[in-house]
């Protein structure tokens, strides 16, 4: 049960630049930390985030270990038409987490 929070306005006017915020629960274990016995804690990070709007990519991020745990992203997109925004996070092993939101554009 991975927590995902999405903030997309329910409605917008055509051409309006809207802000999208996303938050996902993930340790973003950097691979540089050590446990109490001195052993290296293996890296476990999300490496990619993709946002599509009506199927078209509008924003993509590549993450390195420098992104804080439980990554927060805020970015913008133009409200082009009513439709679905899809959000995908992909980790270093290819595992995928997804969520989506609807927007009504008038």
């Amino acid at each position: 049960m991975t927590g995902i929070r999405i903030s997309v306005p329910d409605t917008a006017e055509t051409g309006e630049v809207i802000e999208i915020r996303v938050l996902i629960q993930h340790p973003m274990e950097s691979g540089f930390r050590r446990d109490n016995r001195g052993g290296l804690i293996p890296r476990d990070i999300l490496t990619r985030f993709e946002c599509t709007y009506s199927g078209k990519a509008v924003f993509v991020a590549d993450f390195h270990p420098a992104i804080a745990a439980n990554p927060l992203l805020s970015f913008n997109t133009v409200a082009a038409e009513s439709g679905t925004l899809n959000f995908r996070w992909i980790d270093q092993n290819g595992a995928v987490w997804e969520d989506s939101a609807e927007i009504i554009v008038t």
Binding site: G3, R5, S7, R21, Q25, P27, M28, A68, N70, L72
Partner: protein, 265 residues
């Protein structure tokens, strides 16, 4: 810089050893901080803003998870919401009076203990491990229901013993640094310790998202960090002594508002 930090601690430690006057001061148990100030007020603007941001405050990831757990029934046992209302409507404000005395077991229970007692008595479920994601989520959710409610914990006849134990723990010097909780959080709050401003040591925001942990954690995990900070052996999370300390601190913090889920450094 490290030398300066060590000197500071040495100074703090010496402050407690170098004469009767200071010893008396350290033992003056009526000297609770005044005015009461939440840990929030000692943080930078940016950290305060993160706590206040109901979307970006990462603690809400656990609140969300707790809300789902609260509403979901498992193995034909009733969901929490069956008794306590949808979204815990009947528990609004409840966590502000914890730890509280539990008549049926004759024990002092903190919120985590109450959740586990409920699971065993009414849901036929095993207790959740302290600091497990599920217990953190449930306590964050129930705690969040009281956000903005004033903490109101009084010492009752049944809890006097635990209160005294907690108070003793707070005022007892321990660890290699030979420091008590009170020497920092009563006597020196507001002072700088390296880059930190020493807080008054209230638990009003817990479970809290600590930047240092990079995750949400319980007040007892924070106690362990504090004990380790003075190089003392930490107690068990959920142990009677930590629950007693939590009781003492909750009574001491009465009047502050519940902030769960708070963000701390």
């Amino acid at each position: 810089m490290i030398k300066r930090a060590v000197l500071l601690v040495a100074a703090l430690a010496l402050a407690g050893c170098d004469g009767g006057a200071n010893d008396e001061e350290a033992l003056d148990r009526s000297a609770a901080p005044s005015p009461l100030r939440s840990g929030l007020s000692f943080l930078t603007e940016d950290t305060q803003a993160l706590q206040a941001d109901a979307f970006a405050n990462p603690g809400h990831l656990w609140v969300d998870r707790g809300r789902n757990l609260f509403a979901s029934a498992k193995d034909s046992s009733p969901a929490c919401s069956l008794c306590h209302g949808d979204d815990g409507a009947q528990l609004v404000g409840a966590s502000a009076s914890y730890p509280a005395w539990d008549e049926s077991s004759g024990e002092l229970l903190n919120l985590e203990g109450r959740i586990n007692a409920c699971r065993q008595r009414h849901q036929s479920q095993p207790p959740l491990d302290y600091e497990s994601e599920d217990l953190l989520a449930l306590s964050a959710f129930v705690g969040h229901l009281s956000q903005g409610t004033e903490i109101s914990v009084e010492v009752a006849a049944e809890t006097q013993n635990a209160y005294d134990l907690g108070e003793d723990y707070f005022f007892t010097r321990r660890g290699q640094f030979n420091l008590s909780c009170a020497q920092c959080h009563n006597d020196n709050w507001g002072q700088q310790l390296r880059g930190d401003t020493i807080s008054q040591g209230h638990g009003s925001g817990f479970p809290a998202y600590r930047l240092e942990w990079q995750t949400l954690g319980s007040l007892h995990r924070r106690f362990q960090d504090c004990d380790q900070g003075v190089r003392a052996e930490p107690m068990e999370m959920g142990s009677d002594i930590y629950i007693a300390l939590e009781h003492y601190l909750a009574a001491r913090a009465s009047g502050l508002e519940v902030e769960t889920p708070s963000v701390r450094r």
